[in-house]
Amino acid sequence: MRGARRALPARPGSGIIVPALAALLLLLLTAVPVATLVMGSLQIEGRPGFTTANYEHVYSDPRTYRLLLNSFLYAVGTSILAIGLGTSLAFIVERTNVPFRRGFFAVTLVPLIVPGIVSTIAWIYLASGRIGVLNRGLMAALGLESPPFEVFSLLGMVWTEGLHLSPLVFLVMVGAMRAMDPALEEAAMTSGARPLRTLRVVTLPVLVPALAAAALIMFIRGLESFEVPALLGLPAEVPVITSEIYFALRTYPQDYGLAGALGVGLLLVSAVGVWSYGRLTRRAERFATITGKGYRPRIVELGRWRWVAFVYILVYLLVVVVLPFLVLLFVSLVPFYIPSLDMLQKLTLQHYVTVFEHPDTLRAVRNSFVLALSSATITMALTAVIAWIVVRTTLPGRRVLDLLAFLPIGIPGLVLAVAIIFELINFPIPIYGTLAILVIAYVTRYLPYGMRTSTAAMVQLHRELEEAAAVSGASWATSFRRIVVPLLWPSLVAGWIYVFVVSVRELSSSVLLVSHDSTVLSFLILDLQQSGQSNAVAALSVMLVLSLVVIVGLAQRASGRFGVKEG
């Protein structure tokens, strides 16, 4: 295959211009912010020249190392919980004869749609030591003296984020299990290995690369996560790097130097993660099982354990989907929050009215929608072209493009926002606080996901289809528009839906970049929560989750396949 690659068409025109522009745009979106961030962290506002003063200040402070340790513990814990839950679920749903497995598949993915801020707030109501419903319920039922759970703690943070990320692991592992040739296990069985031994000696080792890759991605996601550290970590006095950066920029006077130096530190840690991930997946590709071929997985007969597995999944769904949603529904419908069932007699819709009467609501809805639409469209268009360059051409820099498009996976949203702020300080056109700046942030953040979908689809597309268009007289643009895009369409739509949903959920970049005019839904929820309007928050959250479920459901029906993919 390698020898069969070709350079860009010799005839100048769209074949040079469009890919060149796309590559330039990619550079502007990824490499430039990182460079600006590093430069900004080496400067002090109002003083000319470069200095390492920010770093000296930050990294001589023992507190910084406590933050790093907290971040590390939090990310590792989150990753372990998410991997444990996601993998066991994937195995049960994909590989066993658990009852109603097909139905579970769709429901397990619902949490993917729920914004992190919403699930975090829900867990405050469920497991806060002071007001948590679960605590109150269990204390009353079992006669306990003190609340059994405390969400405002490192453990509570790990729990909330781990649950939130587990559906991603589920998806990754389902993919890995489907890509595994069932004959590998059958060969072990015909060689005399019993089922448990087969699982231990063949199944798990073959899945190890996928597991390790998923664990690393979850670790990076944990490091960069913002909602849980801000809402649970700050009150619990478990500060991590992200919450510290947020704090440095949200309190007056804003300390850009501190934010920059911390941001670069976080970037380095997560760069190590991304680098190991890259090494690992490259090694995984050498495993003959990763053929991109779909198999019919071998179903493991569980016998009487069938119902144990069934209950396990039910409990998972209860904890991840049902309880958080019910508690938010409850809070949104009572006049004020008291964790007592008596409140059910005083149900009211007043908070829904409050939400609609709030001056920011309609603007936030409109902004979020416009942002999601444009980010999804731009991301998929851009990554389709970049994927074409990476997969189809022999350009010397194509590996760099691939790397650049993957880079944002290691840039925490908050750090990206800091970088963009640094860029804007010296920018001649005043675009700070506009929707455009948010589009830039979102597109940058979701490039890796768009890229993954586009590349996977592009690799499947036989190059001769394009060559046939070329010898029929089609220019690059015509061939791309009439051949490549239509054949990639299902994958592009799937990627589009995913970027749409995550754009609506996005908070960690938005929180530093929105202005009064460019406010978005996730930020509005945070804002209302911090100003103490918790019932309105619940009402807004309930409506947001329901509309996202409806939108994704419709989009999937329209596109005729499941549209969520994640790396």
């Binding site: 059958e186 069985m189 015909t190 060689s191 089922p195 495993f287």
Partner: protein, 373 residues
């Protein structure tokens, strides 16, 4: 001594895509040390049958016996890992996280006998030597080429010296040259080890080349079981005739001493199930047809026009237009024939095969005829 007996095996299941795979009332016996092939198109039930033999599928009815042990049936089902078998899969199923040595040693290490590690080493080396992979023990398995992986899978299946060797289209993923070589090696190996073998394939030439006996399957049933020579020379139905070789089908009616076709009586032997007056198909294999440039006194000679004469190196591929039929023939490559000339084709009675016309028609043949008219 290992004899495999299968009695009225039944298995039906629906795939995810809604296709129904079925095995209905399949019975056969594989004698000790014999190479037995299940041959048929995709979906005929051959792989399902093999997987029932392996214990990877649980049959809904029937009995499978290996020597005196019931593997399946009579309320018993021995799972795959307790059967004394070796199996080679279509995808080879080489474990990518193990070395060549570990792959082959696996059946010895997990099986019931558990030999010492020196014994394991000796037997692994022996098995690798059998398939010509000696010296590659420490190589990570994914680094092997397709052909080497295939040999490795075979070594792994043989290392326990199982009573029964099962092969599921093991050659279908190899390129043509390698496939040719592997089937010679496989044949030699089986003949030398005299291991009772069941082989599944859709490739008739593989089946003819390798087997002692062939069972042709169609829609979940065995429609004919015989030696390679008999399957080819005396197919029991148009389906079998078409599946095991090339040939022109001539429609006609059985009559005393032959089949009424081509406006005359083509003389040939009639099988037992074909009585005069019944609809019959005459199967004419291309290599049985002789093409003459002049009339001949021999029996079954018909005049026609040469439509196509293509030189193919070892033979001349001819299509001759007779009255009412287009006949495919293989002539000697040195024969001097021109397109469009008059020829006389001779169908030697001993080589013409008559089968009962059950209405089945090969799609490829009708298409081919349509194209060239």
């Amino acid at each position: 001594m290992s004899v495999l007996t299968v009695e009225s095996l039944h298995k039906t299941y629906t795939t995810d895509r809604g296709g129904v795979h079925a095995v209905e009332d399949v019975s056969f016996t594989v004698e000790d040390g014999r190479f037995y092939t299940l041959l048929g198109p995709s979906g005929c039930g051959k792989t399902t049958t093999l997987r029932c033999l392996a214990g990877l599928e649980r049959p809904q009815g029937g009995v499978i016996r290996l020597d005196d042990t019931v593997l399946s049936g009579d309320g018993r089902f021995v799972p795959a890992f307790d059967r004394d078998i070796g199996m080679v899969f279509q995808s080879y199923a080489i474990w990518p996280h193990m070395t060549v040595f570990d792959n082959v040693a696996f059946p010895l290490r997990v099986g019931r006998e558990r030999p010492s590690s020196a014994e394991v080493k000796r037997r692994v080396e022996e098995a690798l030597a059998l398939v010509g992979l000696e010296g590659l023990e420490d190589r990570p398995a994914p680094q092997l080429s397709g052909g080497q992986q295939q040999r490795l899978a075979l070594a792994r299946a043989l290392v326990r010296s199982p009573k029964l060797l099962l092969l599921d289209e093991p050659l279908s993923n190899l390129d043509a040259k390698l496939r040719e070589r592997m089937r010679i090696e496989l044949r030699e190996l089986q003949r030398r080890l005299r291991i009772t073998t069941v082989y599944v394939t859709h490739d008739q030439s593989e089946a003819l080349f390798l087997s002692h006996r062939i069972a042709v399957m169609q829609s979940g049933r065995i429609v004919q079981e015989a030696s390679p020579r008999d399957i080819y020379a005396q197919p029991s139905s148009p389906f079998v005739a078409d599946f095991v070789g090339l040939g022109t089908f001539l429609q006609g009616e059985a009559t005393a001493g032959g089949v009424r076709a081509l406006g005359a009586v083509v003389r040939c032997a009639l099988p037992a199930d074909l009585a005069p007056g019944m609809p019959a198909l005459l199967v004419v294999r291309p290599e049985s047809v002789r093409v003459h440039g002049a009339p001949s006194d021999a029996p079954n000679v018909f005049a026609g026009t040469l439509r196509v004469a293509a030189f193919l190196g070892d033979h001349l591929d001819c299509l001759v237009q007779l009255e009412g039929a287009l006949i495919r023939a293989r002539a000697h490559p040195g024969t001097q024939l021109r397109r469009g000339q008059s020829v006389w084709v001779e169908l030697p009675p001993a080589e013409c095969v008559a089968v009962r016309d059950d209405g089945w028609r090969p799609r490829a043949v009708t298409d081919r005829m349509g194209d060239e008219d």
